[in-house]
């Protein structure tokens, strides 16, 4: 079975091991260490780590399409944000009459811009199951439609990158409009609770953190599963010699579409977990710059090695947290410099430092039964 195959791989086992280990460590340090102890992990840190893990999942999704399919999507921020909005809408409905105006159905921003009733697309979002399905469907369907058009007409390379950018840019403008009924520039915020848990308690935070960790693990395994399956090898084939793959009888556009949609859904999940932890979702998540940044995380960690994406995402964002604190005026230099140096001098990223690239490739792409000989 393609999903269980990765579990027999060494790299995956190590990855999952490290991930769950750190989940446990953090939780323990958070719960059992006394507040004043140097080893205590504060709720602030837990949320921070949770955020990193969301980004990591997003990065994995991007690496899946860029690393293994050769599609450089500059629009994955859009799928991330859509997932986030779906979750955000659920959380808004959960506020109920605890908004400042005490209106049982309408969110605050609708009340003071005097909307009369809830727009149709808000219906159903008071039911968690519906919202959670939407978290997958909305980005999935967008990716399906967009991908179908793009891949069918064989838009590739730079062109694809740029129209994905156009896509997310258009969405950003659209969501900025207050007529959209999604909070405009302010977006959705001031969430109270989720599935009955108060979002402002540390316990909930820890829970979300762990949930994110698990989601990341699952996302990673799914991607690994695809990558190590024959389909994974086909997508590499599409990446390197599209025409050849066609002459072998594969429908390249369908392969691309499938992987693209899966990736979009993963991004959506990442967004959905991101929102309750940072407490706000607004159109700036659609900003093309964000999407590009995500790609850079992947490049930094190492393209076409999924764990590389995770490392990249965590390192860059950790760096951001530190630098914006200690050198506010200069951190953009650091970030920009990092991007340049990595792409120019470190094409294989950090993962490339860890392994000799060739070995990494073989290890990545051989089906398990050749593992021994690899």
């Amino acid at each position: 079975m393609w999903l269980t195959r990765p579990l027999q791989e060494r790299s995956t086992r190590i990855f999952l091991g490290v991930l769950f280990a750190s989940l446990v460590i953090v939780s323990v340090l958070h719960v059992f260490m006394p507040q004043d102890s140097a080893l205590h992990v504060s709720a602030y840190t837990v949320t921070l780590l949770g955020k990193y893990l969301c980004y990591a999942l997003l990065a994995v999704a991007v690496d899946l399409v860029w690393g293994y399919l050769g599609i450089l999507s500059l629009g994955h921020g859009a799928f991330f944000a859509l997932g986030g909005y779906a979750m955000g809408m659920y959380l808004m409905r959960q506020i109920g009459d605890r908004g400042v105006y005490g209106d049982p159905t309408l969110p605050d921003f609708m009340v003071f811009l005097n909307w009369q009733e809830l727009p149709w697309y808000w219906l159903g979002f008071d039911m968690p199951w519906f919202a959670f399905i939407m978290v997958l469907l909305v980005p999935g369907i967008l990716a399906l439609v967009f991908g179908f058009l793009a891949f069918r007409s064989r838009v590739t390379g730079v062109y694809l990158s740029i129209i994905t950018q156009a896509l997310t840019f258009a969405l950003m403008l659209a969501f900025f409009r207050n007529e959209m009924g999604l909070g405009g520039n302010n977006g959705l915020t001031d969430f109270k609770d989720m599935l009955g848990f108060d979002l402002r308690t540390d316990a909930t935070r820890l829970g979300l953190f762990i949930a994110t960790g698990v989601a990341l693990a699952m996302g990673y395994v799914i991607c690994r599963g695809i990558v190590t399956s024959k389909l994974g090898r086909v997508s590499i084939a599409c990446r390197d010699a599209e025409a050849r793959t066609r002459f072998l009888g594969y429908r390249v556009e369908r392969v691309q579409l499938f992987v693209f949609v899966v990736s979009a859904m993963l991004a959506g999940v990442a967004g959905a977990l991101y929102v309750p932890q940072v407490g706000i979702i607004n159109p700036s998540e659609f900003s093309p710059l964000f999407s590009i940044e995500v790609v850079v995380w992947v490049a930094l960690g190492g393209r076409a090695t999924l764990y590389g994406a995770v490392i990249g995402a965590i390192l860059v964002n950790y760096g951001k947290t530190v630098f914006t604190g200690i050198m506010p005026d200069a951190w953009l230099f650091a970030l920009g410099g990092l991007f340049v140096l990595v792409t120019v001098f470190l094409p294989k990223g950090i993962a490339g430092l860890l392994f000799k690239p060739k070995k990494a490739k073989v290890a990545d792409n051989t089906p398990p039964e050749q593992e021994a000989t690899a």
């Binding site: 091991g17 992990v41 504060s42 005490g102 405009g184 520039n185 001031d190 109270k192």
Partner: protein, 432 residues
């Protein structure tokens, strides 16, 4: 296996390094400064950071407060709204600051609000805003709509005789709300719907040709017309340029702006703009010694002979002094004590009067109307006879006309509904 080690190390390092420096120094009063130093908002916010540093320096030179020095903690939320929330949490949870001065945009305020309330911090918010908010932990030293928009419209109506109105704004919550309020207000004053034109544009909109020519056409209907502009930041330069070039002159169609101050003007060639208006609670050109001293300090601090001051800077000036007074009054920097102490505190503002903190956490301000001059300054042409108290909930929005806010015991409610006599959602939320 090497990833194994690396990642483990990485994660531990991360966990530790964050938790280690979360040991806060006790002695000085720590003042968090939460203004974007990079990204799109840096334009406006970075000067506010410097203003705060200047004020703190001055206060320390004067011996601090309660014998304790003040220690600024600067972070950069980089014009990224979720990052604002994260940084606010960092300031309160990690750096253990006693008070935060910060934010500019509404969205950034909305994003930090839950954090401030959860961790029971203090936030002084220095920018004119849309109102419709009152938090136990936030003090609004900028203007509420009734301290800027409404008097401005009155001025145009009564002193200029404007009958036809263009409400042009950037498409976000502040202009939306302000324009909603103005629309109702104007209609109450008997302005016909056909005499009101509302237009929204995206952030940083640069192609104003069509809109300006529409305004021109709208203004050519024979009635005296004015533009009430809630256009934000970067979009203003091309807007005014276009106005100038299409020959819309303040004499025919005056534009009154709520978001254009000295600082914005410093980036515009004001030649063609002479006579256009702005409504603020402070202008650099105000003729008062307090103001002249403040300008001298600012010029000295920034080392730039032509450095300009503006309304949000005054707001910080007032907010900071109020905080100091409150701390003195309470005899401690403890948040709850300061929160109670600060209500009713009065400090001098820069326009020669006094600002008082109201029970709804808004302050009293004079409203000034200024005309743009060719030297990038405003000359005050009108001001309210006395100061106006900020109104958290507008009387011109159906949702909020019955709401009042009073953070004194026993009422202690941010949105008390005078009709139903109940305290709205916030208290329930707090009760949860």
């Amino acid at each position: 296996m090497s990833i194994n080690k690396l990642v483990k190390l990485g994660l531990c390092a991360l966990a530790l390094s964050i938790s280690f420096n979360s040991v806060a120094a006790e002695d000085p009063i720590r003042v968090g400064i939460l203004h974007s130093l990079s990204g799109t908002m840096a334009i406006s916010e970075s000067t506010l950071k410097d203003t705060m540093l200047m004020l703190i320096e001055k206060q320390n030179a004067a011996g601090g407060v309660l014998g304790r020095k003040l220690e600024p903690v600067v972070v950069d939320p980089a014009s990224n709204w979720p990052l604002f929330a994260e940084k606010a949490r960092e300031l309160l949870a990690k750096d253990k600051v006693d008070v935060i001065f910060g934010n500019w945009t509404s969205v950034s305020r909305k994003s930090v609000l839950p954090v401030i309330e959860e961790l029971n911090g203090l936030l002084f918010y220095p920018v004119q805003y849309e109102g419709e908010e009152s938090s136990e932990n936030v003090f609004y030293t900028g203007a509420a709509p009734n301290q800027q928009a409404l008097p401005a419209v009155d001025y145009l109506m009564n002193n200029i005789g404007v009958e036809r109105w263009v409400l042009a704004g950037t498409d976000y919550v502040y202009p939306r709300t302000t324009n909603k309020i103005l629309e109702t207000y104007l209609k109450d004053k008997g302005v016909a719907a056909s005499d009101i034109m509302i237009n929204y544009t995206p952030f940083g909109h640069s192609n104003w040709q069509a809109i300006v020519s529409d305004i021109k056409a709208f203004g050519n209907a024979g009635k005296k017309t004015a533009v009430v502009s809630t256009i934000n930041g970067d979009a203003n330069v091309p807007f005014y340029r276009e106005l100038g070039n299409q020959g819309i002159d303040a004499a025919d169609i005056p534009v009154i702006a709520f978001s254009v101050g000295e600082q914005e003007l410093s980036g515009i060639d004001t030649g063609p703009l002479v006579g256009h208006l702005a409504a603020w609670n402070y202008f650099m050109s105000v003729d008062s010694d307090a103001n002249y001293d403040f300008i001298d300090d600012w010029v000295a601090y920034s080392g730039n002979e032509n450095a300009v001051t503006n309304d949000p800077m005054e707001a910080h000036y007032i907010g900071f002094n109020m905080y100091i007074e409150a701390v003195k009054k309470a005899g401690t920097a403890d948040v709850d004590a300061v929160k109670d102490a600060i209500i009713g505190v009065s400090v001098p503002n820069l326009t020669g009067g006094y600002a008082t903190m109201m029970p709804n956490h808004h302050i009293t301000k004079p409203v000034l109307i200024g005309e743009i001059q060719d030297n990038g300054q405003f000359s005050v042409v009108w001001e309210t006879p006395s100061t106006v108290a900020g109104d958290a909930w507008s009387d011109f929005l159906p949702g909020s006309k019955d709401l009042i806010s009073d953070w004194r015991k026993p009422l202690f409610c941010g949105n008390f509904n005078v009709v139903s006599g109940t305290c709205g959602g916030q208290a329930k939320a707090a009760a949860q």
